[in-house]
C-alpha cells in the first residue's frame, strides 16, 4: 500500500477539484443549452476541441496566448450561433433529430479539423509564469491547476451575476422554468435560445483553450470529453448552474479518487452512477422538471 496519509488525500482532492474546474467550463455550457432549449448537443465536444485548435492558430500567428483565449471563444460561439440558427432552429423540439444532426456536425468538424490542423498532437503553451509550481507545506501545487480553478470560479461568478442580476438572465431563468409561460409574459424565447446556445459554445471553447494547456489538443479529444460533459450535466442537473458546478466537482473528484483507488473499473465507475441517477431522477441531482 502506498503512503496514504493526509498529504495524499490533500493532493488528490486538489487534483480532483482542478479537474472538476475544467469540467465545469465544458459542462456548464451544455447544462444551460439543455436546460433552456432541451437540445441534446452531441457536437459540444467538438466546440471544446475547436476552441483549442483556433487558439493554436492564434498563438502560431501572433504568439499571444492571452489573445488566443477570447478569439477562440468568440469564434466558436459564432459557429455555434450559426449552427443553432440555420440547422437546429427548423427542427423544433425533437430530441432524436437533434442528436443525429449534432452528431453529423461532430463528424464534419472532426474531419475538417484533421484537414486544417493535421492530426499531430499539440500543446497549448501558457506563459512561463503559469508553468511553475508553488510549494505549500511540502505539497507541490502546479500553478496551472490553480489557474484552472480560479478561471472556473471567475466564470462561475460572472455567469451567476448575469443569471441573477440582469434582465437577460431573468429571461433565461424564466425560459428554463417554463418556456410557455415565458413566452406568455412577452419574453422573446427564440432570442434567449440563440444567446444561450452561443454562450454554451463560448464556454466550451474557453474550456478547450484552458484545457489545451493541460490535456493537449488532438483528434479524438472531442468524443473523449463529450461523455464527461454529459456526466456533469446529468449528475448536476440540467439547466442549473449551481448544479453544473456541483456536478463538475463530484465528477472531478470521483474520477480522480476512482482512478487512484480502483483503476481497473475506472470508466464503469463514471457511467454507472450516471445511469443510476438518470433512472431515479431523470433530470439530474439538482435539475428542475
Amino acid at each position: 500500500m502506498r503512503a496514504v496519509d493526509a498529504k495524499f488525500w490533500l493532493i488528490q482532492a486538489f487534483n480532483g477539484i482542478s479537474y472538476g474546474a475544467l469540467l465545469f467550463l465544458v459542462g456548464s455550457g451544455l447544462s444551460l443549452i439543455f436546460g433552456v432549449m432541451r437540445i441534446v448537443n452531441l457536437s459540444h465536444g467538438s466546440y471544446f476541441l475547436l476552441g483549442g485548435y483556433v487558439a493554436l492558430s492564434v498563438i502560431w500567428t501572433t504568439g499571444s496566448w492571452l489573445l488566443a483565449i477570447p478569439v477562440a471563444a468568440f469564434t466558436v460561439a459564432l459557429v455555434g450561433l450559426a449552427m443553432e440558427r440555420i440547422f437546429l432552429r427548423p427542427l423544433g423540439f425533437d430530441p432524436l433529430r437533434q442528436v443525429l444532426l449534432t452528431v453529423g456536425f461532430a463528424f464534419l468538424f472532426q474531419q475538417a479539423a484533421l484537414d486544417i490542423w493535421s492530426g499531430n498532437n499539440f500543446d497549448i503553451n501558457p506563459p512561463n509564469v503559469l508553468t511553475q509550481s508553488v510549494e505549500v507545506g511540502g505539497i507541490y501545487l502546479p500553478l496551472y491547476r490553480i489557474f484552472m480553478i480560479c478561471t472556473a470560479l471567475g466564470i462561475g461568478l460572472i455567469l451567476w451575476l448575469v443569471m441573477e442580476k440582469t434582465r437577460m438572465g431573468a429571461a433565461v431563468r424564466a425560459t428554463v422554468d417554463d418556456a410557455q409561460m415565458a413566452r406568455g409574459v412577452g419574453i422573446d424565447t427564440s432570442r434567449v435560445s440563440m444567446f444561450i446556445f452561443a454562450l454554451g459554445a463560448f464556454l466550451a471553447a474557453l474550456g478547450g483553450v484552458i484545457g489545451g494547456g493541460f490535456l493537449s489538443v488532438y483528434p479524438g479529444l472531442d468524443f473523449e470529453i463529450l461523455p464527461l460533459a454529459f456526466a456533469v450535466v446529468i449528475i448536476g442537473g440540467m439547466g442549473s448552474l449551481g448544479g453544473a458546478a456541483i456536478g463538475a466537482l463530484l465528477v472531478g473528484l470521483a474520477d480522480n479518487f476512482g482512478k487512484a483507488l480502483f483503476p481497473e473499473i475506472s470508466y464503469f465507475t463514471l457511467y454507472a452512477p450516471m445511469a443510476l441517477i438518470l433512472a431515479v431522477k431523470p433530470t439530474g441531482l439538482f435539475g428542475r422538471e
Binding site: F87, L96, G104, A275
Partner: protein, 331 residues
C-alpha cells in the same frame, strides 16, 4: 392486391435478387453485403423500439457487443461454438442480449424522450467501459480474435456459404419482426408510440409493453452480435463505441423509422459510404456527415417515406387548385 401484399412481394423479390446476384459479384461486394445484412438485424431491432414503440435508444450497440463477446469468449476459451454447437451459441447470444436488456430495461423504461436517450447512452457506455477495462475477460482494447469460422457439415470459412447463412438469419429475423409488429402486441406498441396516455387510460400496462419490446430488441441485438463476431473474425471495444449506436440510429431514420426494411436500406447506404466510398475518395467523412445533416433536415420520414410525401404534396396541390377554382367562381 393490397399495398401490404405489394410491399411484401417487393421485399421477397429484393431478397431473391440479392441471393442470386451477389454471390456472382467479386468477394469484396459479398463481404460488404454480409456485413450490412448482419448489422441490419441490429438496425431492425432498433426500429422495433424507435419506429414502433417510440423509444429512441442510443445504446443498442451494447447488445451486439454482448452477443459478439459471448461468441468470442466461448470460441477461444472453451472451444464452444465451432461445430454444430454454433446453433447453441446463436441461442445463447440472443438470450444474453435479452438478459442485458431485461436488466437495463428496469432502469430505462420509465424514462421517455430525451431522458431515454441519455440513460441508454449511459448504459451503453457502461458496457463499453467494461469491455475496455476488463482485460482478463475481454482482452481489453486488444479484443478477441476468432481465428476460424464454424464448420458443421458446411464450411463457413467460405465467404459465399457464410453469406447464405447470414441472408437466412436476416430473412428469418425480418419475418419474425414483421409478424410481431402486425400482431395485437405489435399494434399496441404502435398505439403506445402514438398516444401513450390514451393507451394507459384504456387499461394497457404500457410499461410492460415497452419493457417486453425492449427485451425482444435486445435479443435480436444479441443475435446480430453472434453473426458479427464471425463476420469480421475479431471482436473489440470498437464495436461498442458510441458512434456504433449512433450509426444504427441514423440508419433507422435514414431508411425510415417504422418500416423495418427502411433500416436495412439505411444500413446499406451507411456501410456503402463507410466501407465502399472510402476506397474511392478520401473525403468520404464529409459525405457521411452531410448525409446525417441533410437526412435530418429534409427527410425526417426517411427514404421509405418519400412516396408518402410525394402523395401528400400531390394531394395538397390538388386541394389548392380545387380551392382556387372554388374561389374564382363568382358568388
Amino acid at each position: 392486391m393490397t399495398t401490404e401484399q405489394v410491399k411484401v412481394l417487393a421485399v421477397v423479390a429484393a431478397l431473391v435478387a440479392i441471393i442470386v446476384i451477389v454471390p456472382n459479384a467479386n468477394s469484396f461486394v459479398i463481404l460488404l453485403f454480409t456485413r450490412a445484412l448482419v448489422f441490419a438485424i441490429l438496425v431492425m431491432s432498433l426500429d422495433l423500439l424507435l419506429g414502433f414503440t417510440g423509444l429512441a435508444s442510443l445504446g443498442q450497440a451494447a447488445y451486439l457487443g454482448v452477443g459478439a463477446y459471448l461468441t468470442a469468449i466461448l470460441a477461444t476459451r472453451y472451444q464452444i461454438g465451432l461445430g454444430y454447437d454454433f446453433w447453441l451459441v446463436i441461442v445463447l447470444g440472443a438470450i444474453g442480449g435479452a438478459v442485458l436488456a431485461a436488466v437495463f430495461g428496469l432502469l430505462a423504461i420509465r424514462a421517455t424522450g430525451v431522458y431515454f436517450l441519455m440513460i441508454t447512452l449511459a448504459l451503453g457506455q457502461c458496457v463499453w467501459g467494461l469491455a475496455y477495462r476488463w482485460n482478463s475477460l475481454t482482452g481489453g482494447d486488444n479484443g478477441i480474435n476468432l481465428r476460424v469460422r464454424p464448420r458443421f457439415g458446411i464450411n463457413l470459412a467460405n465467404e459465399v456459404t457464410f453469406f447464405y447463412l447470414v441472408v437466412g438469419f436476416f430473412a428469418v429475423s425480418l419475418a419474425a419482426m414483421y409478424v410481431l409488429v402486425r400482431s395485437p402486441f405489435g399494434r399496441s406498441l404502435t398505439g403506445i408510440r402514438e398516444r401513450e396516455l390514451r393507451m394507459r387510460i384504456l387499461g394497457y400496462n404500457t410499461w410492460l409493453h415497452k419493457y417486453i419490446a425492449f427485451i425482444i430488441a435486445g435479443a435480436f441485438g444479441g443475435l446480430s452480435g453472434v453473426l458479427w463476431a464471425h463476420t469480421a473474425g475479431i471482436v473489440s471495444p470498437e464495436n461498442l463505441v458510441l458512434t456504433t449506436s449512433v450509426d444504427a440510429l441514423l440508419m433507422t431514420v435514414l431508411g425510415g423509422a417504422g418500416t423495418l426494411v427502411g433500416g436495412v436500406i439505411g444500413s446499406f447506404i451507411v456501410f456503402g459510404l463507410r466501407e465502399y466510398l472510402s476506397t474511392v475518395v478520401p473525403w468520404w467523412q464529409y459525405v457521411l456527415g452531410g448525409v446525417y445533416v441533410l437526412t435530418i433536415l429534409y427527410l425526417p420520414t426517411g427514404l421509405m417515406g418519400i412516396p408518402a410525401r410525394i402523395r401528400q404534396r400531390r394531394a395538397r396541390s390538388k386541394e389548392a387548385t380545387e380551392e382556387r377554382k372554388l374561389a374564382s367562381v363568382p358568388p
